[in-house]
């Protein structure tokens, strides 16, 4: 069984379209300059509706993480145990993601990471993170 494919809400379509081209882009407010996530059509910092999707550095650090041992979906039966992390980008927003390219027990809070893209074969590319 294949893994669930993201089903984007209208406001997050640009995020996934950029990811397809291996670019990490987040909404940034043209009024106050803040980035935010998840995407929405007004700025949660100043409520301005004038914004654009802008490339970010792709660098950040692990804010927190968990390790799945239990299988909740059959597609992850071969994956357990795997890490799901919350990565805080240099630009501020936090992204839920997987940490790849590292042994499980080496993942730690505050560890520096950088983005990498996982092409799923469904025409979708999922941003993940690896040690920086």
């Amino acid at each position: 069984m294949s893994k669930p494919v993201p089903r984007p809400a209208p406001e997050s379509a640009p995020y996934w379209n950029a990811a397809k081209e291996h670019k990490l882009e987040l909404p940034r407010c043209n009024a106050c300059g803040a980035f935010w996530f998840p995407p929405s059509q007004s700025c949660p910092h100043c409520l301005a509706a004038d914004f654009a999707f802008v490339p970010v550095s792709g660098r950040g650090k692990v804010f927190s993480f968990v390790t799945f041992h239990r299988v909740y979906h059959p597609a992850f039966e071969q994956e357990v145990p795997y890490v799901v992390a919350l990565v805080e980008l240099e630009e501020g927003p936090r992204l839920l993601t997987n940490i790849v390219g590292i042994e499980l027990d080496k993942v730690a809070c505050e560890m520096p990471v950088k983005v990498t893209f996982d092409d799923t074969g469904d025409g979708v590319s999922v941003p993940k993170f690896m040690p920086a």
Binding site: P6, P44, S64, T67, F68, R70, V84, L96, N98
Partner: protein, 395 residues
Amino acid sequence: MVMIEPSRDLRDTCAIVGIGNSRLGRVPGVSSLDLLVEAMRNAIADAGLKVSDIDGIVCRGPDDSYCHHQRVGERLGINTRFSTTLDNGGASQILSVALATMAIKAGLATTVICGYGRDAWSRTHVNEEARVRNETRPESQRAQEFGPEYGYFGAVAAHAFGATRHMHLYGTTRDQFGHIAVAFREHALRNPDAQMKKPLTLEQYHEGKLIVAPFGLFDCSLRSDAAGAVIVTSRERAKDLRQPPVSIKGFASWNNTTGWFNNDNMVVTAAKQSGEAAYKMAGVGPDDVDTAQIYDCFTYMVLAQLEDYGFCKKGEGGPFVASGALRMGGRLPTNTSGGQLSESHAEGMLQVVEGARQMRHTYPAERQVKDAEIALVSGHGGNQVCHSTLILGRA
């Protein structure tokens, strides 16, 4: 945000006069609605009231329900003055008591029944797929992106993020989480209605399989078919009723609606602001609280809330729970009926039920928190950020 001063006009004006629970645990073939009605019938009988005395219903329904209070009223066979259905997840149950109190004080009702029932064990055991997914919410309520593609599912993982962060910041350990699970199991063994019947040692806690680390099996609350209900009326009316009234001293809510993953919300929970306001309404502080009934969806959430309610400092929850403080005879006997970890999980409703029962002083000595005058009850839910606090007193 401006500072507010909660009104003291509501302190000690209303009381809980009827308390009931349904059968708890695995109750196949009974809907969540019928479990709720079972708990309500028990509460009405306990109070010595006629159902026609009830003129308000404040409840919560399953996640896919519509106007649940209407279905409850139909089953109870009554028309009502003030009725509604709440939607704050596990924080709803205390809010139902708060709203009942406000409605009575406003003269919009005299006697309001509050409750919540769920069929979470049955719902997650209808077939193998439901058991694997272990999800009580309907498909339409689940994340469609920014989660499932990463293998991120369920409440265990959401709360485990907070546990990891707390462990990182303060050196909190799984062993300390274990003390919470063991204490509540000890309490459940004295409760004949409790779902869990076998003792749990700290060693067995560590042997429990990992679910979503740092949480293992015994860090996680139960899947239960379970319901609870309480009846609220004015202190004046309460005088003539059958049971010793339990005074509603204070309540408040706080919602970290900026999100669990933002700011420090996963470590400093909404129990902090919700507790501070409830303490003010009640005119008490953490040192006055004799027993706590804390929303224990996971062990870590007990530890974090105890800190946020001021029973110890932020970061000192680990040593506090490991000291034996939560056991009967300890500094703060907590979840004295076994909690959601060992009694049954009705999303905070059974915490309200147990807090009220402790204030009646009708338990046998082994279950009664000795000389308890003040009980604090917490409710937490709605994607981890909605919180409510209720402070009850011996009338």
